[in-house]
Each structure stands twice: as C-alpha cells, then as structure tokens.
C-alpha cells in the first residue's frame, strides 16, 4: 500500500530547502548545503509518491492524469535535474533560481484542474500517442526553462565581468563560454522537443475521436503554440546563420523566445484552468461537480 502524501508535504520540504539556499547565497555554509539537499531529496521523494498515487487512482500515467499532474511532473523533472547538478557541483548555487520556479509550478498546479482525463484516453493507442505528446512537451518545457535560466545567468555573469564586480562568496556562476554553450543546447533541444511535441499533438487531434471527446485545432493553446513555434523557428534560423561571438544577443533571444513558450503554456493553463478542453464531456462535468462538492 502506498503511503499517503499531500501536496503540502513536498511544498513544505522545498520551502525549507529554498530558505537554506538563501542562507548559502549570503554566505558559504556547508551545513546549509547538505540540509538543503536533504530537504530537497525528501521533497522529491514525497512528490514522486504523490504523483504515483494520483496516477494509480486515475489508472493513467501522471503525465496524462490531469493538467494538475502534468504541471507537477514539470516541477518534479526540474527538481531532479537541479538535484543532480547540485550534488555534482557544490559551488553552483542555482537553487535561488530553481526553487522559485518549482514553487510557482506547484502553486499553479494547486489551482489547476485536478480531475483526471480518464475518458480522454480510453483507447490504448490514443493513450500511447498522448503519453508521447505529453512527454515531449514536458521535456521541451524543462529544456526551455533551462535555456531561460542559462541565458539569465549569462547576462548576469556578463554584466558582472563588464562592471568588474567580484564574485559573491556563496554564489559562483559558470564561465561565459559554458553558459553560452548551455544556452545554445537548451534552445536547440527545446525547439526540437517542442516541435515533435506539437506534431504529435496535431496527429493526436486528427486521430479518431475517443469517447466523444477530442481536442479542437481552434483551441487558443493550439493557435498560440503554433504562432510561438513559428517565432522560435525564425529565432533558430537567425541563431544558425550567426557568425562570430554573439552570446549576449543569443541570451536575450533565448529569454524572449523560450520565455514566450513558457508564458504561453503556463499562462493559458492558469487562465483556462487546463491544457485542453477536449475532456470536458457531460460525464466529465458530472465528475467535476462531484469533486468540487
């Protein structure tokens, strides 16, 4: 039997870990580092249980269970990547940037649609396509977040070097070439994954409607995603034809381009309460009413 965990369990763990990261940011402190890592690991474990529990209850993988779960998977993945990096490099204090993002994602997830998309993925084939679509988008979103973070760090580091400011004791950023490389890779990976994610989404929408529900191409998320994708493609084209060092421009481009992707996806979810309206059938509305009561 799975132990009962709630959203508050891992939210509290991450909050404590974030507080310890702030302590570290102000001054090098190995206790704060290990304490932060311990709380973050505990939070990640609790979040894993929570997602597995929800998936188990809805008989769907966490990525498909609901928009709430999808958002939590993004946060989970961001935490996992951060933890791996934090364990590997004690001087790279990225927590001050990653925790606010993760906490925001959890906060947004709390507000979002928690009703499982059970009837949207009744057919096995549709479920597999859906899983592929959601996975590609999740990885694309995480790569976009990583791109935005590396671009932001690039701009910070560049400004520090230009203005001859010393490094903070508790916060050492990677070198400009490393940040530029990370930035470029994150942009390319994000574009590739999001393109495949959108393509699989289109294929999914063209496939046979499942249980009377489908995702319409006229949905705001689909239209806006298409527009953002076109902008990203143009940015990628500019990036590829660039000659010579242009790290700062690339960083700004990444922030605007990938930031636009993140804003589109998360902003729309926050406004509409879910990713797709496709699942809102009469039966689903009934379930929602029961859940809300």
């Amino acid at each position: 039997m799975m132990p009962h965990t709630s959203l508050i369990c891992f939210l509290a763990s991450y909050l404590v870990a974030f507080a310890l990261e702030i302590v570290r940011f102000r001054r090098t402190n190995r206790w704060a580092r290990w304490g932060g890592l311990a709380f973050a690991s505990a939070g990640l474990l609790a979040q894993t249980w929570y997602l597995l529990n929800r998936g188990h209850q809805a008989s769907l993988p966490p990525l498909l269970a609901s928009t709430h779960d999808w958002m939590l998977v993004v946060a989970w993945l961001a935490m996992l990547v951060y933890l791996v990096m934090a364990v590997g490099n004690s001087r790279l204090n990225l927590g001050v940037f990653v925790y606010p993002l993760v906490l925001l994602l959890i906060g947004v997830a709390y507000k979002l649609d928690q009703v499982p998309n059970t009837e949207l993925y009744v057919a096995q084939a549709r479920r597999s396509w859906g899983l592929l679509h959601a996975s590609l988008l999740v990885f694309g979103v995480v790569a976009a977040a990583a791109g935005c973070l590396s671009a932001f760090l690039y701009l910070l580091q560049h400004r520090r070097l230009k203005t001859s400011h010393a490094e903070r004791q508790g916060f050492q950023m990677p070198s400009l070439p490393r940040l530029a490389a990370a930035n470029r890779w994150a942009f390319l990976m994000s574009f590739l994954l999001l393109t495949l994610g959108y393509a699989s989404g289109l294929l999914l929408s063209f496939s046979a409607p499942a249980a009377g529900s489908t995702v319409a191409l006229s949905e705001p998320i689909v239209i806006l995603s298409g527009v953002v994708w076109l902008l990203l493609a143009a940015a990628l084209g500019w990036l590829l034809i660039q000659r010579g060092p242009a790290g700062r421009q690339v960083a700004w481009l990444t922030i605007v381009g990938l930031g636009g992707v993140l804003l589109t996806i998360f902003g729309l979810q926050l406004v509409t309460g879910h990713l797709h309206r496709g699942g809102r059938t009469a039966a689903r509305v009934g379930v929602e009413t029961q859940v809300r009561q």
């Binding site: 001859s164 010393a166 004791q169 070198s175 400009l176 010579g244 060092p245």
Partner: protein
C-alpha cells in the same frame, strides 16, 4: 615534556636575513645530520620557507633540550655566519606557546598574505622530511599531525581562505577564468615588463596558457622575459597586429600619453573579428583608454583600481575571520596539551599497574598452593582481587589525571615514584 621553537619570520626579520638563515632543499639532509649530531636526544623539525625559518625541538627530558643559544650556534655554524649578526632576530617560544605558534603558522594566520594556502603544504613537507631523516619523534609527530588537522579545520569552519587577495590572482581567478573556459588555446600578449605582469603571467601559465608574446620597447628585456616564460618576442612597432590577435592582454608600461587610445583599439577589434578579449591594464597611469570597454560586448577591461578594491575587500573579509580561527586554535592547543601531558603520565601509570599486578599474581599463586580447595572458586577470587586493585588505584590515578590537565604533574609523578618505589627503567 618540553617543546621549543627558535625562529625568524617576516614579522620581525628582513628578507636579506631570512635568505641567509634559510635551508634549501639540498641543505636539509645536512642540517638534520648536524642537528642530530649536536642534540642526539632531541626531536627536531625544520620549517624553511621564503617567509620563515623555524626549528622545532622537543624532548621529554628538560635538561638536554637545545636552548636558544645552542640553536643560534647551530645556525651560525651551519651557515658560516657570526652569531651577533642575527641573534637578536631569532625569537623563541616554549611549551603551549610552541603549539599555538605552529597552529597559527599552519592555519596561515601568521602568513604575509592572510589565509594563503601554500603554507599547509610547506608544513606538511617539512614534517615529512623530518620523518624521512628520522628526526621527528612522538612529541613532534603529535604536534605536526595535529597542526595539519587544525589547518584543515580552520579552512573549513571559517572563511579565512575565501576570496583572493593579490591583484594577479583576482584578475585571473575572478575574471579571466569566467571569460574563458581554458587558456591553453589562448594567446597572451604582455606589453611592458612590470612586476605585476610577471605575477599575472605566472597565474595564467598555472591556468594552462602556453602561447605568450612579449612586446617591449627594450628588446633585451623582452628577450629575457620570453626566455623565462618560454614565450616569443614580438616587435613593439607592430603592436596593432598583436592587439588584434591576442585573447589576453597584460599591460604594465604606464606610458604617457595613453598607449592604446580608443580609436587605436577600435581598429584592432575590427581586425580581430570582435572575439572576446581579456585586457589587464596594470600600468600607472593607465595604458588603455577606459572607454574601450564600451566598444563592444566582448571587451573585458580591468585596471589596477578595480582589482585593488576587490583585493582590499577580500582582505577585510578574511580579517573578520581571524577571531573565529583563533578560538579554534585555542581549543585545539588545550586539547593537544592535555593529551601530551596525559601521555607523559603514561609510563608511571603503566609501571604502577605492572607492579601491583605482580604482587597480586604472587599472592594468589601462594594462596592457591596453600588452600587448593579454593581452586574451584579461582575465577571469582581473582575477579574480586582485580576489582580491589582497581578501586585502590583509582584515587591516585584520578588525581594524576586531574593534575595533567594543567601541565605535566612532575611533583605528583615524583611522589608516586618514591611512594611506590617505581624505577625509571
């Protein structure tokens, strides 16, 4: 237990004297041989760096430990110097002050650059050499092993070693290494040949820089430096070309008027395809027009004032950590002295226990010979006698332990020797 150090350091003696008293690596074996010959029963460790020359000696017996004058004579004979030329510069410490002094030295509290890391390696090397020459012993082993531990503790528990404090290290460590990931594929152009340029190039070479161009108005000086660094000389007249090609520029001419005005550097940037360039302007007055940093995103210019301010700030931050380091050192001095004093009582305690053990063995053997029917209860009887002995010995040993916390309890040890007729052998 007696500890002593006779030393001269940068705090009280000039470099000229320190150089005359120092022991080079090749002289160390002869120095240890001379020390062993002069003071055969003393443990010795020689610590000789550019900032200090120190001779640590230790011995259980106070009568035969080399004194200040003995060691001054040793320095004089070894280096063929008249004693009066340096006697006043030789300082001496003994007892717990020796421990405190060595801990402060190893923790880099006594260094010219507070918190510099090289001293730990130097102390470690000195101790290893003493071991190799069979000059160290139980006391110096305990002292130096603990000193290395204390240095590590100070480094991890305080911020004494954090932040760079020399201009060249700040320039290369805090800025250069963040502009470039690696230096082995970079071209370093050195204009002029000031002291700071030499230091900066040393740091750049430590980071892997291989291609070094020396550009100086005086060709002889340029040739000498290029030879020293394994670099190449570049004619000063074609400076614009080198400015365009170099990735790192270190300049220390301090020429007037400004050597590289904005327009000159703008042309060099055009030829260099605007690749990132790290410019270290260490000249006073400046060699580069400060406005060149705004030419494009990839010009990173640092002048001596920028770097000096950071060094000063780091130095102040380190200074704030000194008190915390001293608290750790005081704790560790007390701990080590307690342990050493306690160790000094060890032989007496061991002999006392052995003597009582012998008495117990003799008497129990006699008892069981006389009363063989007690043989079946032998184990119980022996255990009771053992407990009795322990209880009787407990008060004097406890008193000895208490006294040892304050120092070697010579009076009490002597009393025990006389009361229980314990021999020294």
């Amino acid at each position: 237990m007696n500890l002593q150090v006779v030393y001269c350091s940068h705090r009280a003696s000039g470099l000229a004297l320190r150089e005359r008293l120092a022991f080079s690596k090749t002289q160390i074996p002869q120095a240890y041989a001379a020390l062993k010959h002069a003071f055969p029963r003393a443990e010795c460790v020689l610590l000789s760096t550019c900032n200090r020359v120190e001779v640590y000696t230790a011995q259980e017996d106070a009568n035969q430990i080399p004194g200040h004058q003995d060691l001054a004579r040793f320095f004089a004979e070894f280096h063929q110097l008249p004693v009066h030329e340096f006697f006043d510069d030789l300082l001496e410490r003994s007892g717990p002050d020796v421990v405190r002094h060595l801990f402060q030295v190893a923790a880099s509290l006594d260094s010219m650059v507070l918190g510099e890391p090289q001293i730990v390696a130097q102390v470690k090397e000195a101790y290893t050499l003493a071991q190799q020459h069979a000059a160290s012993g139980p006391l110096t082993n305990a002292l130096f092993q603990r000193a290395l531990g204390v240095a590590k503790r100070v480094r991890t528990e305080t911020g004494l070693a954090e932040g760079r404090v020399s201009i060249a290290s700040v320039a290369v460590g805090e800025f250069g290494r963040r502009i470039f990931d690696r230096f082995d594929d970079k071209t370093v152009l050195v204009i002029g040949a000031g002291e700071m340029a030499i230091e900066a190039v040393r740091y750049l070479q430590d980071e892997g820089a291989r291609q070094i161009w020396v550009c100086n108005r005086t060709l002889d000086r340029a040739l000498a430096l290029a030879q020293e660094w394994g670099g190449q000389v570049r004619p000063f007249e074609r400076l614009d070309e080198w400015l365009a090609q170099a990735d790192v520029i270190v300049s220390t001419t301090g020429a007037e008027p400004c050597l590289v005005p904005r327009d000159r550097f703008r042309l060099a940037r055009q030829k260099g395809a605007y690749k990132p360039v790290f410019v270290l302007d260490l000249g006073v007055p400046r060699d580069f027009d400060p406005s060149i940093r705004d030419l494009d995103d990839n010009v990173f210019l640092y002048c001596i004032d920028d770097l000096q301010a950071i060094c000063e700030r780091n130095r102040r931050a380190r200074q704030r950590e000194v008190d915390r380091a001293l608290v750790i050192i005081d704790q560790e001095v007390d701990r080590l002295m307690g342990e050493l004093h306690h160790q000094a009582t060890g032989p007496i305690i061991r002999r006392l226990r052995e003597q009582w053990r012998q008495v117990v063995d003799q008497e129990t053997r006699r008892l069981f010979q006389r009363l063989p029917h007690l043989e079946k209860d032998r184990a119980d009887i022996e255990r009771s006698i053992e407990q009795m002995v322990n209880k009787l010995l407990h008060p004097p040993l406890e008193a000895l332990r208490d006294e040892a916390r304050e120092g070697t309890p010579h009076g009490l040890l002597d009393a025990l020797r006389r009361l229980f007729r314990l021999s020294d052998g």
